[in-house]
Amino acid sequence: MQKQLEKKHPLAIRWLHWINFPLLFMMIWSGLLIYWANRVYGIRIFGYELFAFFPEGFFEFLGVPFRLAEGLQLHFFFMWLFAVNGLIYVAYLAVSGEWRAVLPVPGSLKRAASVALYDAKILKKKPPQGKYNDAQRVAYTSVIFMGAGSIITGLAIYKPLQLAWLTSLLGGYQWARWMHFWLTILFVLFFLVHIVQVALAGWSNFRSMISGYEVVDAATTGDTEAARAETQG
């Protein structure tokens, strides 16, 4: 069978994606070192704590306790790199036209649900998609907003006097801190789902995030005949 190489991920996207990985890791790790000093959040129902963030053993296991100063040093260094990398990513999406592959449209949520049903083998027919399916579009766009949210809530905690208007807008200092924490939990959940999905999607898909290319069957690309006519004509 004839094959085609499909250029899936531009060089800039690949670099920005992989650079973001250690940056996000360092932001979450240093955030954990900071959070330990006032570890107050949990999931509570009617005053009963179902789960505390986090059990003492979790902190002990990771060697987190008494490293607040180090956490602050790392957080306020990597915040610049994390923010700049994110801003370049958003600018690149806008300028290059890559946004066409990433953004959802009204109706994407419904189609994202179809993707989930297809993945769960409930729907037989694969929902139509471009490079990413609608569930990916929703997830990848959400994570951009989560990044923006982390920066905004972070600034509100970092400069609650000079940016008092922002801190007040978020409901005050402690609410801003609460949101900053939960956004981090969402990042971790995103990361876990992302890892599972990448593992399920297989080697060829993973490799394309490094090489940029993926081999596809010529027959399945749909546009091949038209493309052939185009180039021959």
Partner: protein, 295 residues
């Protein structure tokens, strides 16, 4: 021939994703494009894919190794230096945007939270409030310390505020403070200037020496402040907390209260204040915390 193969893949063709009649396909709605090479046999495709993968995996792997081991094996002095300089860079950025006219929100008095005590450095010994005095150094026109007592402080205009005290650990409490604005204190007891000109707190604070060092009577706790933050209208020399005189554990008889910086900077049980041109030592900075620690 190999050149032809290059051309085949480098000139990957740009394709519109078919017709736009399919309204159920987000890719088509947004006009997403696909970039495909010429169709080739499976063997050629595999070889070309391997060639491209090898190159990018080597570059990627090398970059990851440089990043990971570069950070991991970086000598601690260098790493610490970078992080310390980042704190100082962040401080400069903060000061670029600093405005003394921006105020921290104040709260109604019934929002005051339960008291919370943290930190006893410099306060281990009992204090005799009756014999307490405040030494002030670095004043304009004199080289020795001026010695004041609490009545001298209380003679200055009284200011009250209900503000949020933020601990660097992440918790915060709302406190009702009463005391003297530090700027009122400095207007009465004038700091020296960098060029020995006449000090003018209100109109040319930039001429004043840029730092203030504040220490406990036993020098067990010490903080450094930048002049703009300490002259902020919400920085108080506080002698009352939540409607009563300061308790010993909260810094009796006189402490700094200010929403401009973390609690680590709001020194309790002040013994000496010095206006200085040198950046003062700071207790927690010596354990790796940000000297500025400003909001």
């Amino acid at each position: 021939m190999s050149d032809d193969k290059e051309v085949l893949f480098e000139k990957v063709r740009e394709l519109r994703n078919g017709d736009s009649s399919d309204s159920k396909n987000t890719a088509k709605i947004l006009g997403e494009k696909r970039y495909l090479s010429e169709p080739v046999d499976a063997d050629t495709a595999r070889k070309e894919m391997f060639r491209r993968s090898l190159r990018t995996f080597l570059i990627g792997g090398a970059s990851a190794a440089v990043g990971f081991f570069g950070w991991r094996w970086m000598p601690n002095e260098i790493k610490y230096g970078i992080l310390r300089r980042t704190f100082e860079f962040n401080e400069k950025v903060s000061q670029l945007f600093y405005s003394p006219s921006r105020l921290s929100p104040e709260f109604p008095r019934d929002h005051v939270s339960p008291r919370r005590v943290n930190g006893f450095a410099g306060m281990e010994k009992e204090i005799n409030l009756a014999s307490w005095t405040l030494s002030v150094g670095g004043l304009a026109g004199r080289s020795d310390d001026l010695v004041l007592n609490l009545d001298d402080i209380k003679a200055l205009p009284r200011t009250e505020m209900v503000t949020e005290l933020k601990c660097i650990e992440g918790w915060s409490t709302i406190v009702h403070w009463a005391g003297v604005r530090f700027s009122d204190f400095a207007a009465r007891y004038l700091p020296k200037t960098i060029d020995d000109s006449r000090p003018d707190i209100a109109n040319s604070p930039e001429k004043l020496v840029p730092y203030v060092s504040i220490t406990t009577p036993d020098n067990g706790y010490f903080v450094g402040w930048d002049m703009p933050s300490i002259l902020h209208p919400q920085t108080l020399l506080a002698y009352e907390m939540n409607g009563e005189p300061l308790l010993p554990e909260h810094g009796a008889p006189l402490r700094i209260a200010s929403p401009t910086k973390y609690g680590i900077k709001q020194i309790k049980r002040i013994g000496r204040i010095e206006f200085t041109a040198e950046r003062p030592r700071d207790y927690w900075t010596e354990s790796g915390y940000d000297w500025y620690s400003g909001h």
